[in-house]
Symmetry: C2
Subunit: 186 residues, 2 copies
């Protein structure tokens, strides 16, 4: 196995806001980037016309996408709903299915939704100090059910890659909706 030589380095992570300095890529997802993900498409279009809010952003320090490297990033998922459905990330499988990911919740309250291609489904509450394990082969999406940003730090193997297309086609097994007594998994 050959892996690219990289010098040691350090980043500064704000353990509450998730701010990562320096980062080399910043991915922003507005509601218009998430058409098809939410159950209420008409509500989504109303919100897009009303200003197309930012749903989440991911700050990452990029490294070679190779087995043996580890890539880390911070996700800030803003609070909000589309109809009754809480803001969430697009969700993805890893392109290399046989790769895990570790989430560390820093602030806010939400869920990590997981599913497999053979029909299993899972939901883990995600809050400050939650270390959640995304096992190999499990798609993962996070959902913010609180009033402040849901912030988490994540580490994944360099070779993992991202497959968003499968979730765009199949959707996710569970949704998280605002109910009269709080969040409801549906």
């Amino acid at each position: 196995m050959k892996v690219t030589a990289v010098d040691p380095f350090a980043l500064a992570l704000d353990l509450r806001s998730g701010a990562l300095q320096p980062y080399t890529s910043r991915t922003q997802r507005h509601l218009s980037d998430m058409r098809g993900a939410f159950r209420d498409g008409a509500a989504l279009e109303d919100l897009v016309r009303g200003g197309d809010p930012l749903v989440y952003e991911v700050l990452q320090y990029d490294l070679p996408e190779e087995t043996g490297q580890l890539i880390c990033c911070t996700t800030v998922l803003y609070p909000g709903t589309v109809g009754a459905e809480y803001y969430m990330t697009k969700g993805h499988y890893h392109l290399v299915r046989e790769t895990a990911e570790i989430y560390l919740g820093l602030s806010g309250q939400g869920y990590l939704l997981l599913m497999t291609e053979d029909g299993r489904s899972w939901a883990e509450p995600l809050g400050p100090g939650t270390v959640a394990y995304v096992p190999p082969a499990w798609a993962h999406r996070s959902v913010n059910v609180g009033e402040e940003p849901l912030v988490f730090f994540a580490v994944y193997p360099g070779q993992a890659g991202h497959d968003y297309g499968t979730i765009e086609r199949t959707g996710f097994a569970q949704r998280v909706l605002r109910g009269p007594q709080g969040p409801v998994l549906a």
Copy 2:
């Protein structure tokens, strides 16, 4: 590639003390486990006779040691010195050299020392919110230069393994000593 099926799970990490619940293994290193690591062997033996203090402990949630899995652990490195040399971990290479590790500092102040088998040497300050990258092939040892425990969370690839023997034979390229104006790299 075949990887063992694991269900999703979550652990609770105290973002200040590093307490991890649940964990499946707890490794404790007393000074008597670290003979040969410190420059002042006579000072070490005095301390061993005086009660053999605990230098550090590692709480880990074990998973199959396979490519694709990620293993996480918390290290609590207590404050203290052996002669002028600050408490430190044993330090190791990964058995599979081509594997990285990510450290996240939670509390305390110290250094992450790194070295390669071809003679390079590096020191990164490690404190709350420091994300330090241990690149593939770099041995790593942490040193507590503060008055409180140095606590960090770490993630490494399942296949990495630990090679302590090489460091026991070669020692580490740098030491961190208490000087009149604070820590000195020597």
